[in-house]
């Protein structure tokens, strides 16, 4: 790879692209509302995502209350329960996690981390947010239509999703599909921006192999999203036609309530293929940015370069490529040729290799490091634990023979909440604590942050870890109530109550975070430009928070990678990416 005898950090070649001419806002509206500045768009994206995320959190309480105290709360009937399950899942996966990682962190961090003034097409970037907002409003508006939102489950499997037995079949399902189509259109505009900014708008000296892993994670996720969302787009268009025009793409001929429907000859399995062709990469669209961010948090707060940077990059790429060919493992129990099951099981288990490589590298980065137990670091460590836990249960479920009995149980709920619920959410919290000083110029309260971490981490563990046991006991997921089920012992009901109580408590405890977030805006300690003494480029802006155009008069010039911590001979224990080379330095 790099020859050590060749000095890497000599002055980079001159600029290939002339400096961009930026749109300068003239009024309050164009500066803060219809803004073309990626940093403002990022905050709009994140704010919207967190707002719908809170709605989804409340919906999870509805689910938990029903599971613990079936029938005790009058307004939770079967329809409300299924609607809550559906909206909770869809909002969390698509409108919250995807939007906050790519639209929120992507918009804020990509231009700053690669040394650009803004995204390459700020106007398109602005449109992306507004289309996303409309998509969100369309989805939430389904609560105000007769019949309410759809209760089809977040996978929206036909035929049941559009038949009259499912709540929200009147308007809810239509609004859901329209909202998803809008989301994809909006995301495509943003995603193209993220990808092109990373590929074509880096500053002098910023080679791809000098980018922070955060950028690598978000970039790979954006590429995957551009390739995976088409599957969902097509599935939504066809399902919408089945629902509104009465086409039979996914609908076989069937009898409903003694009446023969007009549908004939469609293939419900086709929907599942299209859905999961999006659905599985979606897991990694959420996970890869989390991987990237956590690498940076660990490296900065352990004052050590990330272990095996190149392998980390290749692992991200390998995970991205492999995740496009594993979607069938969601369909083991849909009826599948055993050879396909074999193929998908092999690819699924193969993903464990690059993923494990990343986990080892995180652990080896921590090995003999100068670990600072700051709030971001705690969240990063919490991520490691939950992610390994969720990853290992993923190996169980990736095997056809283990998946078949477990697939319809709470084991799957436990697995995916560990691996793509709790783990990415911990990273989001850690990232907010980490970059808040750059975004606002003030520190968040460390003491409140630590209280928030321990409640969230231990609480989330207490919620989802027992669910594995419930799953192994055979407790089915998505059931409104168990009734007289012989194979589920009475003690399971007790465990369900415990889980619910903790879930309510952990949910309310998030108010500590929001209190901290808003209080620190005004009362937080002034942060200065680089409170964590981090080496990556976003901390080296001339102003904090970064001004319009990010870099003042001159774009920064990059001389080394973003992990130059504890460099021998350097004046401090870190060397910023844009600091001139030190004698004898061998940073890549």
């Amino acid at each position: 790879m790099t020859d050590a005898s060749v000095p890497q950090n000599v002055a980079p070649p001159p600029a290939e692209v002339p400096d961009v001419d930026l749109y300068h806002a003239h009024s309050w509206i164009t500066k803060y509302v219809f803004s073309q500045d990626a940093k403002v768009i990022a905050i709009q994206y994140a704010g919207t995502a967190i707002t719908v995320g809170i709605l989804a959190l409340v919906l999870s309480w509805v689910i938990r209350l029903q599971l613990a105290f079936p029938g005790a709360i009058p307004f939770i009937d079967a329809n409300v329960y299924y609607q809550s399950v559906t909206m909770h899942g869809m909002i969390m996966v698509v409108y919250m996690l995807t939007a906050i990682f790519l639209g929120g962190f992507g918009n804020y961090l990509i231009p700053l981390m690669v040394g650009a003034r803004d995204m390459v097409f700020p106007y398109v970037n602005m449109l992306s947010y507004w289309v996303y907002l409309i998509a969100t409003l369309v989805l939430v508006s389904s609560y105000f239509f007769p019949g309410g939102p759809t209760g089809a489950g977040w996978t929206l499997y036909p035929p049941q999703s559009i038949l009259t037995g499912t709540p929200g079949h009147e308007y809810g399902i239509i609004l859901m599909l329209v909202s998803l189509i809008l989301f994809i259109v909006g995301f495509t505009m943003g995603g193209l921006n993220y990808v092109v900014t990373v590929l074509q708008a880096r500053t002098r000296g910023m080679t791809l192999m000098r980018m922070p892993l955060t950028v690598w994670g978000i970039f790979s996720a954006a590429v995957m999203a551009l390739l995976a969302f088409p599957g969902l787009f097509v599935a939504c268009v066809m399902l919408l036609l089945d629902r509104t025009l009465g086409t039979s793409f996914f609908m076989p001929s069937l009898v409903e309530l003694g009446e023969r429907k007009d549908y004939v000859g469609g293939s419900p399995i086709l929907f599942q293929h299209l859905f999961w062709f999006f659905g599985h990469p979606e897991v990694y669209i959420v996970a890869l940015p989390a991987f990237g961010i956590v690498s940076d948090l660990i490296s900065v707060h352990a004052r050590k370069n990330i272990f095996g940077y190149r392998m980390m990059v290749w692992a991200i790429i390998a995970i991205g490529v492999l995740s496009m060919v594993v979607w069938g493992h969601h369909m083991y129990i849909s009826g599948m040729d055993p050879w396909f099951g074999f193929f998908f099981a092999v690819t699924t288990l193969a993903i464990a290799v690059p993923t494990a490589l990343k986990v080892y590298n995180w652990v080896l980065t921590l090995w003999h490091a100068d670990i600072h137990f700051t709030t971001p670091m705690l969240f990063a460590l919490g991520f490691l634990v939950t992610f390994v836990n969720g990853g290992i249960t993923g190996l169980y479920l990736g095997n056809v023979i283990v998946d078949v009995p477990l697939s319809a149980t709470l084991f799957v709920v436990a697995h995916f909440h560990m691996v793509m619920g709790i783990a990415p959410v911990l990273v989001i919290f850690g990232a907010i604590y980490h970059w808040y000083p750059k975004i606002t110029g003030r520190m968040m309260d460390e003491r409140l942050g630590k209280i928030h971490f321990w409640i969230t981490f231990l609480g989330a563990y207490a919620i989802f870890f027992p669910m594995h046991y419930l799953g192994v006991l055979g407790m089915p997921r998505r059931f409104y109530e168990m009734g007289e089920t012989a194979f589920v012992p009475a003690s399971a009901a007790t465990l369900n109550i415990v889980i619910t109580v903790i879930a309510l408590a952990v949910g309310f405890a998030q108010s500590i975070f929001f209190y901290n977030l808003f209080k620190s805006l005004k009362y937080g300690a002034p942060a200065g430009g680089n409170p964590w003494r981090a080496a990556s480029l976003e901390w080296q802006t001339p102003e904090t928070p970064p001004g319009h155009g990010n870099w003042g008069k001159h774009l920064p010039v990059v001389y080394r990678w973003p992990y130059a911590y504890s460099v021998p001979g350097a004046p401090e224990d870190y060397l910023p990416q844009n600091a001139p080379p030190v004698r004898g330095e061998r940073s890549p």
Partner: protein
């Protein structure tokens, strides 16, 4: 144990493979830009087209799946897409004309790109208008075809000739493609106007984006237009010829 003599040929191929792999990685990860000859706009259009390829692929694969999974026989395309001209049924004649029309428009588009780079803006604008005309004609013929089929009783939910999915897939896929062509025509007209006025000579700023445009936008428009043509070739092959 004696060492096997290593042939130099073997060594050089191995070395070449390694160095070319490294060269590829080095090129891709090089300073500032990964695609040295592509501007931001061109790179963005290429990546969008890759994404759009996935959309059309999903549509076409879904169409093939329902065509194979449906229980009723699929209508015969050469009979359905036939026109009666002078008392004779000529199969696929309209589609042949539409395809010829669209491929011709690709030719005029390519000429427009050439003239745009040569800064002959009147010629470029006129050729773009010709391209837009061919595109509009294509959409018009498509509307004619839709009308004819609808008169014959083809509906998205069923038709008198066979499998219901025939009408569903036909209207969905040709509709989605026709939508792409229509969008293309609109943008061709907008850009042709800008070229005609000489916006890219005087560096006039865009109405929405407030950025200065360049003649390269004609080529980016051309990328989209050729893509839409290429997609049509696949729809033609898979829908009308199969």
């Amino acid at each position: 144990m004696t060492a096997e003599p290593v042939t130099t040929e073997h060594v050089t191929t191995e070395l070449n493979l390694r160095s070319s792999l490294h060269g590829m990685v080095a090129d891709w990860s090089s300073d500032q830009r990964s695609f040295k000859s592509a501007s931001w706009g061109k790179a963005m259009m290429w990546i969008f087209l890759v994404s759009d390829t996935f959309v059309f692929s999903c549509f076409l694969i879904s169409y093939m799946t329902v065509r194979m999974s449906t229980t009723v026989e699929w209508p015969h395309p050469s009979e359905i897409f036939a026109l009666e001209i002078g008392g004779k049924k000529i199969p696929l004649i309209l589609i042949a004309i539409m395809t010829f029309d669209l491929i011709t428009s690709s030719g005029t588009m390519a000429m427009a790109v050439n003239f745009a780079y040569a800064r002959e803006r009147r010629k470029a604008a006129i050729l773009m208008l010709v391209t837009a005309f061919f595109g509009a004609a294509f959409v018009g013929m498509q509307a004619f075809e839709w009308t004819k089929l609808i008169h014959e009783g083809v509906r998205p939910w069923g038709n008198p000739f066979g499998a219901a999915q025939f009408g569903s897939s036909f209207f969905m896929i040709t509709g989605f493609h026709g939508f792409h062509v229509s969008i293309g025509v609109i943008f061709l007209l907008i850009i042709a106007r800008a070229v005609w006025r000489g916006d890219y000579d005087v560096g006039r700023r865009g109405f929405f984006t407030s950025r200065k445009g360049r003649y390269e936008i004609v080529e980016i428009m051309g990328l989209y237009w050729h893509f839409v043509d290429l997609v049509w070739v696949f729809i033609f092959a898979f829908f009308y010829l199969w």
